[in-house]
Symmetry: C2
Subunit: 251 residues, 2 copies
Amino acid sequence: MIEVTLIGTGRLSFNLMNEILNNKRFKLNQVFGRSKFRPKHISDDVDYIKEIKNINNSDFYLIAVSDNEIYNVSNQFDAKEGIVLHVSGNTNINVLSNHKNYGVFYPLQTFSYETNLNFREIPIIIEANNKINQKKIEKFSKIFSKKVCKMSSNERAICHLSATIANNFTNHLVFKAEQILEKNGIDKKILQPLIKETFNKLDRMTTSEAQTGPALRNDNLTIESHLRQLNESDFLNLYKEITKSIRSNEL
Amino acid sequence: MIEVTLIGTGRLSFNLMNEILNNKRFKLNQVFGRSKFRPKHISDDVDYIKEIKNINNSDFYLIAVSDNEIYNVSNQFDAKEGIVLHVSGNTNINVLSNHKNYGVFYPLQTFSYETNLNFREIPIIIEANNKINQKKIEKFSKIFSKKVCKMSSNERAICHLSATIANNFTNHLVFKAEQILEKNGIDKKILQPLIKETFNKLDRMTTSEAQTGPALRNDNLTIESHLRQLNESDFLNLYKEITKSIRSNEL
């Protein structure tokens, strides 16, 4: 059995904990968190520690804390022969170089407390401080997912940027679309079938093929009418910029 | 049986044609198109006409042509007692005022030639030139969908703007996210599970609850690192603007 220690208690840690607890090849050794009280999603069977000095030996340590805390946390414990992994998309592997064996385990996905994701389908981007550890981290990661990719810290950062756009930015635009409806007294639920189909389409065609709308077909009358509707709205500038971007990619 | 004539042969017309052909309460009278040759998605059983003067009497005429053609097409035929409907989100009902009976039938959805949409779930926004026609258009629309909403031309235009943002703009951002990967030699398929979950999440929570990422949590280190990666990219300005928009909505 592979012993795993989880450091951090956020959304990603919660999802990793469930994966580890539900897989007989793993033993969840400890979960470390800053909170005085055991977070409600961590069951009493789990050894929850609040002092990092109480950390004991594991095969793998997964550091799932906010990016700017990784270095601090990493320097507060001695992993001995264990492999220390951070799970961040945008953090260099070297932040863990105080350890003998270290690397990166970055699942390219958005996580929440309510979800029931199929981890087997989640791409896990890995990196290691040497070839021996790379083999070990690869083997470890393949227990979680069938999509394990080796990348440099730079390539991983590109994936993180891309994920930020595909997830955070698109979600924000849907939020703005709903906000425009609500400001005009229209129930935002009316958008739901469209949002669903927008992304279902991408199972059948590329984003280029799926692109439609006034910006793509240079329908200036519609664009001008939209701009009039957005007059004085905080979305006006963004509407112009995205329209420009759609147009420039079709030249 | 309700006789329906379709004017136009684009994506929406194609989807409407299939709905009409598959419903025993409808008879597809004619399909008018500008193309000399019968478009390949229109079967030989359908009376395809290329000259609008050959149009004959129907209960409903659905004008599914590009917005700036609606007025022209509408003025080229005499609907007599039939009800003429356009299917545009952003066109005033008055463009059809040369007819006695007219209105709007706007399905709030994105359409493609390959799709197999459940029309029953698609919101159809209707408008009519008088109360009698409104009843008739409502009854007609309810054969297509269980979500029929009456709105003014202004309210419908708000829905169209909102739909443009939720569909065209989000699709473009996913395209840009993929483009960034490809420019760096990374297979864009790595984003697929994330894109799927981004929109699956919206079945379980609101866009506000689903929002995550560096802009929301004011993670300046990550944002600066993204900006460095985007240096000289045509997406740099858009990255800044969307980040600003995410931040300003959380103030």
